[in-house]
């Protein structure tokens, strides 16, 4: 594998020397969202494999080109999982792409996001330097937390070659319950439940129906289920998968799909078009033709931000702008890691 790393490093050094832009490519599974336009492609999928995994450590170290499906299968054999339940959006999704996009699935609501589970990364920066940050242990406060800075940076700061992640045991028992409710009732209820010691691990609301997943020990899940009532959904597992992967029919309306991340207690946002609510109210998917400015404003009024997720210009993705002071700092950070801006030109939208 070392020669693959050396080749990637060489390519970056050359790009840096001649000022050529590179598009970092994992499994291309998220190209519907971000797909920068660059002079050359730098493929990471050849740099793959598990570097270290000892289940009792709850830590796995993986090369970035490793397929997410392969990693999840290995963890599953050992009764463990990636807690943030990342979407794959296709069979070729790699771990590197997953972290670069920083996307998390339904369980994010209960346990935390991709960045929360990253313990360390190895990267090639915009000069081709091979850098390691963080580590393979659960607690580490030596040096600035560059590992988490990489998550969600969309490959704009460096090429992630390896990452160490904290994993968790899979819950022994999971069930899904549903209730017919209005959107505002569902938002109110899920927020109240989140303040109670209940093993809620995911929520969704669409089409007048609230669904809730409970995860944990058999005893804990059963006692919570009897407290909450609702109707049991037999195809629960499929539902959460279709939500995570956005294969559920709701996601395919033909309209642009916006992702609004807001204060979980925000009432229904009052936007026309259909809405799907996740994360106990904190994530609102909106399929609509609204102008971006209106979505940015709505999201901001509710303490958050909006991004165009499907149906836009993937080389120049859209999202809420940053306040000028933060934009200045973001640009300087980019400058530090990739001084000649060779990685993924045109993204992220906030630069």
């Amino acid at each position: 594998m070392e020669h693959v790393l050396a080749e990637m490093q060489e390519k970056i050094r050359h790009a840096h020397a001649v000022g050529m832009s590179l598009r970092i490519v994992g499994g291309e599974s998220k190209a519907f969202w971000v797909c920068p336009d660059a002079q050359e492609i730098l493929t990471v999928s050849g740099y793959s494999g598990i570097v270290d995994y000892e289940p009792s450590e709850l830590v796995v170290t993986v090369r970035a080109g490793t397929r997410l499906a392969e990693l999840e299968a290995l963890l599953s054999e050992n009764g463990q999982m990636l807690p943030f339940e990342p979407p794959h959006f296709g069979p070729h999704a790699t771990l590197g792409g997953t972290l670069a996009c920083g996307l998390s699935g339904p369980r994010r609501f209960a346990v935390g996001s991709a960045r929360d589970f990253v313990l360390g990364v190895r990267i090639l920066d915009g000069l081709g330097n091979d850098l390691s940050f963080g580590g393979r242990v659960i607690k580490n406060v030596a040096g600035f937390d560059v590992s988490r800075l990489m998550v969600g940076s969309l490959g704009s700061l460096g090429l992630m070659t390896e990452a160490s992640l904290k994993v968790l045991p899979k819950p022994v028992c999971e069930i899904t319950l549903e209730w017919p409710l209005s959107e505002s009732e569902a938002i109110g209820l899920t927020n109240r439940w989140a303040g109670m010691p209940l093993p809620v691990s995911a929520t969704s609301f669409e089409g007048g129906r609230l669904r809730v997943r409970l995860s944990g020990s058999e005893a804990g899940v059963m006692s919570a289920a009897s407290k909450l009532g609702g109707d049991k959904v037999d195809s629960g597992e499929e539902w959460w998968r279709s939500l995570r992967e956005q294969t559920a029919p709701w996601f395919h309306t033909g309209k642009p799909l916006w992702r609004l991340s807001v204060n979980s207690c925000s009432p229904p946002l009052g936007l026309s078009g259909s809405v799907l609510v996740e994360w106990g109210g904190a994530l609102r998917w909106v399929a609509s033709d609204h102008l971006p400015a209106q979505l940015y404003k709505t999201a901001q009024d509710h303490g958050g931000h909006a991004q165009l997720f499907r149906g836009g210009d993937t080389a120049h993705p859209k999202g809420s702008p940053l306040p000028p002071v933060l934009r200045k700092i973001n640009r300087k950070i980019k400058q530090q890691f990739d001084p000649k801006s060779i990685f993924n030109p045109g993204i992220p939208s906030w630069l």
């Binding site: 406060v141 937390d145 927020n191």
Partner: protein
């Protein structure tokens, strides 16, 4: 390390600051400055040039702008409980205390968040949230005293972090003032925000990037019940193996702490927690949740511990007994403090699989240096806290202790761990940073520092060593077998 500024040299700055602060909130007399000369790491002392005690964010902003203008170093201080000298003052600089920004601004029970000022004590947040059935999960042992601003600066952890995460996992938003006086709002009311994850970057940055003036934390519902189990072992390696087995079996206890023989005996002598004093290792393992969950987890834990060779396992039968089990652990530091005039606390983290082996090597080092060590630590996280006993009044003992501590930290790095799990680098572990990181990484850290603080006036000399310091120490770390800058001569 005493001295401080020459008389009168701080006068122009004091005058400038007095435009923004009442004169009683600017301390300049030696006897007023003395209480600020060290944080929890008292081996390092330095009287600051002056101390300011602002009460508002605007004052903090004005102080920082003024210091920038005067080109004077600034060290932020919360409640001074840090254990790595992070809040050690600068002799010609300003010590900026955040202690008076101590209000809980807003607590939202439905959204499960609290917006607080940086000087609010960690435990005060949980106390305020209790009426809503909520609490703030990260619980450093110093939680009655330490500030939330300090917690953010150190990314502090506690005994419940294995299950509930560190500070970085429980903070939603931070307001921060840069040295140039710009106000940054990082994070939001939502679960994610546009832009690079500067909130994560700033958490654990030891006061080098900006001064935190407001923190929004996430609150969790209080578990209905909690029970603890005590397990005694005749050997640290057996106890270490039991820890690994618990985790491998898919159990994430709410707390999983370990004490070794010397620590058990010190704690028992101090608080009479009922610990088995002949044991060589003790595990305290807590389970929380609904009564049903706790019941089933306790059963599994007991079986696993018995099966791992525990001499004895004891389950708490009521809340009073659970608290008693914890009393010894919580009082372990002061208990050890009774054994010798001084102790030196180390904070390395290692992979759990190396627990037994590393403890044995620490014992061997203890023998080599002729100094006693007690171990009480967050076993579930692999976060060690060896406490080396010494007497600072004996010439050379502090230096020898530091050398011993450095060996332990290097051992942690050797087995794949890190030099600090939660206490931070500060001034204390700055040389070990050269062992942990290579030149390129250190260079990147300096780059990040320069983005936020180009003049380098915020907490200088802490957390990130200068490259030439590492080179002089001859401790340059060879990383992935590549010598950085092979073209340069070594010395």
């Amino acid at each position: 390390m005493t001295g401080g500024s020459t008389p009168g040299s701080m006068e122009p700055l004091r005058l400038a600051l007095s435009r923004y602060l009442p004169s009683q909130d600017i301390l300049i007399q030696p006897e007023e400055l003395r209480p600020f000369e060290s944080d929890g790491l008292t081996a390092y002392r330095q009287v600051p040039g002056l101390v300011v005690l602002p009460e508002t964010e605007q004052q903090v902003q004005a102080i920082l702008r003024t210091c920038h203008e005067f080109n004077v170093p600034v060290v932020a201080r919360g409640h001074g409980t840090g254990l790595s000298g992070g809040a050690l003052p600068h002799g010609q600089g300003v010590l900026l205390s955040l202690a008076r920004l101590n209000s809980i601004l807003f607590l939202d029970p439905l959204a499960r968040t609290a917006r607080v000022q940086p000087g609010v004590r960690n435990l005060a947040i949980s106390d305020a949230a209790a009426a809503s059935g909520l609490y703030y999960a990260p619980d450093p042992s110093s939680q009655i005293a330490c500030s939330i601003g300090g917690n953010v600066a150190e990314n502090s952890g506690g005994v419940h972090c294995l299950k509930y995460g560190l500070t970085v996992h429980n903070v939603l938003r931070v307001r921060m003032v840069t040295l140039e006086g710009e106000i940054l709002e990082l994070g939001s009311e939502a679960l994610d925000s546009p832009g690079y994850d500067l909130l994560a970057l700033v958490t654990g940055s030891e006061g080098l990037l900006g001064v935190v003036t407001e923190v929004t934390v996430r609150l969790l519902p209080r578990p209905v019940t909690a029970r603890a189990i005590l397990a005694a072992f005749d050997d640290v390696e057996k106890a270490g193996a039991a820890v690994a087995r618990i985790i491998a079996q898919g159990i994430i206890p709410a707390g999983l702490e370990m004490m070794d023989g010397p620590a058990i005996r010190a704690a028992e002598a101090f608080v009479k927690a009922g610990y088995p004093v002949t044991a060589e290792a003790l595990l305290i393992c807590e389970s929380d949740g609904t009564p049903e969950e706790v019941e089933s987890e306790m059963g599994r834990l007991r079986a696993l511990l018995d099966d791992s060779g525990a001499l004895e396992t004891r389950l708490s039968v009521n809340e009073a007994e659970r608290l008693k089990f914890w009393a010894g652990r919580k009082a372990a530091f002061p208990a050890v403090g009774r054994l010798a005039p001084d102790y030196y606390c180390i904070d390395g983290t290692i992979p759990r699989r190396s627990l037994g082996q590393v403890l044995k090597r620490i014992y061997a080092l203890s023998h080599e240096y002729g100094q006693e060590v007690c171990n009480v630590f967050h076993a579930g996280d692999g976060n060690l806290h060896p406490l080396i006993l010494f007497d600072a009044s004996k010439p050379g003992e502090l230096e020898q202790t530091e050398a011993f501590a450095a060996r332990i930290l290097e051992l942690c790095v050797e087995v794949g761990g890190t030099i600090t799990g939660e206490h931070g680098v500060g001034v204390e572990k700055i040389d070990q940073m050269c062992v942990q990181f290579g030149v390129n990484e250190l260079h990147a850290f300096h780059g990040i520092k320069s983005v936020f603080d180009p003049s380098g006036l915020l907490n200088p000399g802490k957390a990130i060593p200068l490259l030439h310091r590492c080179a002089e120490l001859g401790r340059m770390h060879v990383h992935h077998n590549h010598v950085p800058h092979p073209e340069l001569p070594r010395f």
